[in-house]
Amino acid sequence: MFESISQLLDESETKSIPLHKLILKDESEYTHISESDIIERLKNTLAIMKQSLEKALTTDIELPIKEASNQAKKLLTPGIFFGDNMKDAIAWAMIISEYNSGMGLIVAAPTAGSSGVLPAVLFKAKDILGKSEEDVFNALVVAAAIGAIIGNRAMLSGSEGGCQAEVGVASAMSAAAITYMAGGSHTQISNAIALSLKNLLGLICDPVAGLVISPCIKRNAIGVVNAFLATEMALSGLTSIIPADEIIDAMMKVGRKLPYELKETGLGGIAATKTGKRIKKNIFSDK
């Protein structure tokens, strides 16, 4: 396993092995599972991601917060300020996220609350760049390794580190993945991670009534936009003054410092607003 983003990228550079191949090799050595078995399992993961999007697109989802039901599909309309591609991508992320909230089958990436970001970004980037299934697969491998590094250096859950550790990480994983898919250099990948994570640093976890609905579903959309934004910046040659690994460490410290109320307890942030409390009362009054 890799301890830092720089270690991963440096090793790929010095050994001149493509990133996804290095990651698969390392995974196999570390877990004693053959590379072909790993690949098969990852292909299944990708297939489930696709399936959840397809199923979610055709399912009417009733959520415990009625007002939040079936919002995402409204975005499947021509873009106003956004181009159609970007509008589609945010719609897909939210549609998967709604499906998750309605107890649909999804792939946690890295968590269920943030599960819409990575598939939406991957599938839309594939369309935009005209890439193959294999390219998407390779990008998924990169995303997973970046997630593992962030998880080990910091955390991957709202209850431990706030939403920066869920949607923030999903966004960084996605940015790394599509920078790789677009043929970006290692420096650009590292910058894409740094820039995306930095933008969502400090994001709190404050689900209304404790339900993974609000703000979660729409936060998946910002995760997507942020991933494309960071990638666009990195591929244009912009750099982050603070290196990716140091930002991850900062994220860990911020996450630890966030108070209990802002870490998936449903006691702070928008959950603690007048409306948030009313919704909670309405939902649970009959139980």
């Binding site: 089958l105 792939v107 890295p110 269920a112 993974v212 998936e264 307890t265």
Partner: protein, 221 residues
């Protein structure tokens, strides 16, 4: 390291809405009933920390019940756990507990019983659907979602470990790691180990031949 595989990050195929509060909760309960070794008749579920605050919202209660009924986090039947529990005659209660600050905010204590036996398992959902079983019947534990885990409760006496190690080597099983937690007063020990390959069921009967071994479970999740 908390995450030892890329599948810890994108490998959890699961029914929503929350990897920690739904999938992880279900997984803890699923492992708990594997440790109990049979279907419990009655369960007492104690929710701690964030589990206590938000369990109804995330379906934590449904998920724990589903796990205790033998459903895994990816089973779309989870939704119907309350109805299935009723059909199968499983008695359950939920309560809010404070396990203390040494426990992760997403922790649950599950007391399972039937007419003959009782077992309490405490587990924590540490993020992204990953779990750790922290305590079994008062003995500290520390195993989680690693595949090919063997858990043994034995009398704490000389030779117990040698017998375990010898038996595993007879089955050509390579032990990746092994840990023991002991209760010096009761003279019992919980031993858990991870093997490098699939543990065949025959290992159980081979180990049970030793009088000091009380029970053996294979946790393959």
């Amino acid at each position: 390291m908390k995450y030892t595989s890329i599948f810890d990050v994108i490998g959890h195929i699961m029914v929503g809405p929350s990897s920690s509060h739904t999938a992880g909760a279900c997984q803890i309960a699923y492992v708990a009933q594997l440790l109990f070794g049979k279907k419990p008749k009655s369960v007492k579920i104690g929710l701690h920390g964030s589990f206590a605050e938000t369990y109804r919202g995330h379906g934590t209660d449904i998920a724990i019940l589903a796990g205790l009924l033998g459903f895994k986090p990816e089973d779309e039947e989870i939704k119907n756990a309350f109805e299935i529990a009723q059909e199968e005659g499983l008695n359950y209660t939920f309560e809010i507990v404070d396990l203390g600050s040494e426990y992760h905010p997403n922790s649950v204590s599950i007391e399972m019983s039937d007419k003959i036996e009782k077992m309490t398992v405490i587990g924590s959902s540490i993020g992204g659907g990953n779990i750790i079983i922290k305590n079994v019947n008062g003995l500290d534990a520390g195993f989680g979602g690693e595949p090919n885990t063997l858990v043994i409760l034995n009398q704490d006496k000389i030779g117990a470990l040698v017998n375990i190690a010898n038996t595993l080597s007879k089955f050509n099983l390579n032990i990746g790691s092994m840990k023991i937690s002991r209760d010096l007063k009761k003279k019992i020990a919980l031993t858990w180990l991870e093997a490098d390959s699939v543990i065949p069921d025959e290992v159980i009967s081979a180990l049970k031949k030793y009088s000091e071994i009380k029970w053996v479970r294979i946790i393959n999740v």
